[in-house]
C-alpha cells in the first residue's frame, strides 16, 4: 500500500522509538513520513569492508543498542579537547552498498536502513525482505541542518583513526530525527520505482520529433561493433 496525502496535502507521519520494534515496522507503508527517537549509527563502505571482508568485530553491541544504520558521513569535527562539533548530516547514495547488505543484516541485526536514493525493488526483495528490514530515504536530499538539529549528542565514534572522519562509525543520540520517507516496506515495494514508472510512460513523447544524433555512442547500443564515439 502507498501512503496518500490527505486533502491538505499532508502525508501520514509516524514517530518511532529505536530500536524499532517489529510491530512498528509492520505498520510502515511506502510514502509514510518517519521521525526517530533513540540511538542510530552511521556505517557505509569503510565499515562494511572492515567487518565483512577483513573480519573485525563490530565495536558496538548491535542490535541491542540500535537497529538503525544510517548511510551517512556527517559534517562534523572532533575538537582538540575530544568534544564533538556536529554541523549537518545528510545521507549518501545507498545503491553502492548492495553487495554488503545481506552480510551486514546478518551481523548487525539492522532492521532500518536510512540512505539516499534507495535500491531497486529486486534488491529489496532479495536483500531486505529476508532480513525483515525496511528502507527510509532522506528528503531532498540536502536536509543537513534539520537532521543536524535532531542529533542531541554524539555518544561515541569508532574507527575514526582507521577509517577517517567520513567513513568512521558515528553513534548519535537523536530526538525527533527526520523527516524520512519510507521507500521500501517489509514486502519490498519501492516508492521510487512506482514513481519512476509513472514518469517513464511520458518519456517517449518528450523525444518525439527530435532527430537522431550524427554519431551514437556507447550506452545507446550494446553492440560494440557499431560505429560510435
Amino acid at each position: 500500500m502507498t501512503s496518500k496525502a490527505n486533502e491538505n496535502g499532508e502525508f501520514k507521519e509516524v514517530r518511532l522509538q529505536v530500536p524499532v520494534k517489529q510491530e512498528d515496522l509492520e505498520k510502515l507503508e511506502i510514502g509514510t513520513i518517519v521521525y526517530l527517537d533513540g540511538i542510530i549509527y552511521t556505517g557505509r563502505e569503510g565499515v562494511y569492508k572492515r567487518v565483512l571482508e577483513e573480519g573485525y568485530d563490530i565495536p558496538l553491541d548491535l542490535p541491542a543498542l540500535s537497529n538503525v544504520n544510517f548511510h551517512c558521513s556527517p559534517a562534523a569535527a572532533i575538537e582538540p579537547d575530544g568534544t564533538y562539533n556536529v554541523g549537518g548530516v545528510t545521507a549518501t547514495a545507498s545503491f553502492r552498498f548492495a553487495k554488503w547488505m545481506t552480510g551486514w543484516f546478518n551481523k548487525s541485526g539492522a532492521k532500518v536502513i536510512i540512505g539516499k536514493g534507495g535500491m531497486s525493488s529486486e534488491q529489496y526483495k532479495e536483500l531486505y525482505v529476508p532480513a525483515g528490514a525496511v528502507y527510509l530515504t532522506t528528503v531532498g536530499y540536502g536536509t543537513g541542518a534539520l537532521l543536524g538539529r535532531g542529533i542531541k549528542k554524539v555518544r561515541q565514534v569508532e574507527w575514526f583513526k582507521e577509517l577517517g572522519n567520513a567513513q568512521a562509525m558515528w553513534v548519535f543520540e537523536v530526538e525527533n530525527f527526520g523527516p524520512f520517507i519510507v521507500d521500501s516496506d517489509l514486502k519490498g515495494n519501492s516508492l521510487f520505482e512506482q514513481e519512476g514508472k509513472k514518469i517513464n510512460k511520458k518519456l517517449d513523447k518528450l523525444y518525439e520529433g527530435l532527430k537522431k544524433p550524427a554519431l551514437s555512442r556507447y550506452g545507446e547500443t550494446d553492440d560494440r561493433s557499431d560505429e560510435l564515439i
Partner: protein
C-alpha cells in the same frame, strides 16, 4: 596594498556563508516552483525550505555533503596585493582547511586511489582555483562554490549538423538519467557549456551553473531564448524533486559559449543542486570587504569577441 591576511580572512568568511545561507535568487526560484507542485514533490520542496531556515538560524551547513569547496578569483588589472598569486593560493588553502574544521564542513577531499583524507579539504589540486581578470578596476573578487561531486554532469561531442535538436536530446538524456531517484538533488540550476575545446566546454558549463543567478539571462537574445526553451522542456519531463512525479526539475538554465572547432559542437551539462552554495566577497583597494551572493563572473570583458578591449 591588499594584505594576504585580508584575503585569507575573507575567504574564510565566504566559506561559512556559502555552506550555511541559501542565495536569495535561488530561494525565490524554488518558492515560485513549489506553488505549482503537489504531492511528494511539494513535500520535498517545503522540507528543503524549512531546512534553509534551520541552517541560517543555527548557523550550521544546509547540507552535510558540503561538496567540493573551490574558488573563483577575479583580479582587477590595477589591484595591488601582497604575496603575489602564490600568496593568494596559500591564503585560499589555509582558509579552506580552517573553515572545514570550524564550520564544520565534511572533509570530502581524498586521494583518488589511496583515499587518503587530510580531514581539511586540501590536497593535490584541491581546492581548485579558477582565475579571471577585469580591466580598469583595483579590487579582487573571491567567490567560493561548494558543489556536490557525483551526479548531474555529463559531456558529449555533438556536431554542427546535430543542431538545436541535438542539444535538446542531450539535455533531456542528462535530466532524465540523473533526475531519477533525485540523484541530481533537483530542482537544479542547469549550466550548459557549448563550444570551446573539450575542457573549456566543461569549465563553461560548470561556471554557468554555479556563477550565474536564477533569473539572469545570457546577453545574446537568441541564446537567452534557448535557455528559456530548455528550462521549459526540463520542467515538462514530468519529474519533480527527488525524482517523484512533478514539474520541478530546472530552477533556471544558463548557457555559456566559447568559439569552437569548425567541425564540432561540444556540449556539457552541469546541475547545481537544492543546496546551491555560492558566496562572493569583493576586497577593495583600501582593504574594505563587501559580501554578496551574485558572483558577477561573466562580465562583458569575459565574453569579449575582439582581439583588444575597449569599452
Amino acid at each position: 596594498m591588499i594584505s594576504n591576511k585580508t584575503i585569507q580572512d575573507t575567504a574564510y568568511q565566504i566559506m561559512g556563508k556559502a555552506a550555511i545561507d541559501i542565495p536569495q535568487d535561488y530561494r525565490k526560484g524554488i518558492e515560485f516552483m513549489v506553488q505549482k507542485e503537489d504531492g511528494l514533490s511539494k513535500f520535498v520542496l517545503k522540507t528543503m525550505m524549512e531546512n534553509w531556515d534551520a541552517a541560517t538560524e543555527d548557523r550550521r551547513p544546509m547540507c552535510a555533503d558540503s561538496g567540493l569547496p573551490r574558488y573563483y578569483v577575479k583580479i582587477g588589472n590595477d589591484a595591488k596585493f601582497e604575496g603575489g598569486p602564490i600568496g593568494i593560493e596559500r591564503a585560499l588553502r589555509e582558509a579552506t582547511a580552517q573553515a572545514t574544521h570550524d564550520i564544520p564542513l565534511r572533509p570530502n577531499r581524498v586521494h583518488p586511489l589511496w583515499r587518503t583524507d587530510h580531514n581539511n579539504n586540501v590536497g593535490i589540486n584541491s581546492p581548485e582555483i579558477d582565475w579571471s581578470f577585469e580591466p580598469d578596476v583595483d579590487w579582487i573578487d573571491i567567490t567560493t562554490v561548494h558543489k556536490g561531486g557525483l551526479f548531474g554532469t555529463d559531456y558529449r561531442m555533438l556536431f554542427p549538423g546535430d543542431g538545436i535538436d541535438g542539444i535538446k536530446r542531450f539535455f533531456l538524456d542528462t535530466m532524465v538519467s540523473f533526475g531519477k531517484r533525485g540523484l541530481a538533488c533537483q530542482p537544479a540550476v542547469v549550466g550548459i557549456g557549448l563550444g570551446g575545446s573539450k575542457d573549456t566546454t566543461m569549465v563553461l558549463g560548470k561556471q554557468a551553473a554555479c556563477l550565474r543567478t536564477v533569473g539572469e539571462a545570457n546577453p545574446d537574445p537568441e541564446i537567452a531564448k534557448l535557455e528559456e526553451e530548455l528550462k521549459t522542456l526540463g520542467n515538462e519531463i514530468g519529474m519533480g524533486a527527488q525524482g517523484f512525479v512533478g514539474a520541478s526539475m530546472v530552477a533556471d538554465c544558463h548557457i555559456e559559449v566559447g568559439y569552437t572547432h569548425t567541425g564540432g559542437m561540444p556540449m556539457s551539462v552541469h546541475m547545481f543542486c537544492l543546496s546551491s552554495r555560492r558566496a562572493t566577497a569583493r576586497i577593495h583597494a583600501d582593504g574594505k570587504v563587501t559580501y554578496r551572493t551574485d558572483p558577477n563572473w561573466f562580465t562583458p570583458y569575459m565574453r569579449r569577441e575582439t582581439t583588444g578591449w575597449e569599452q
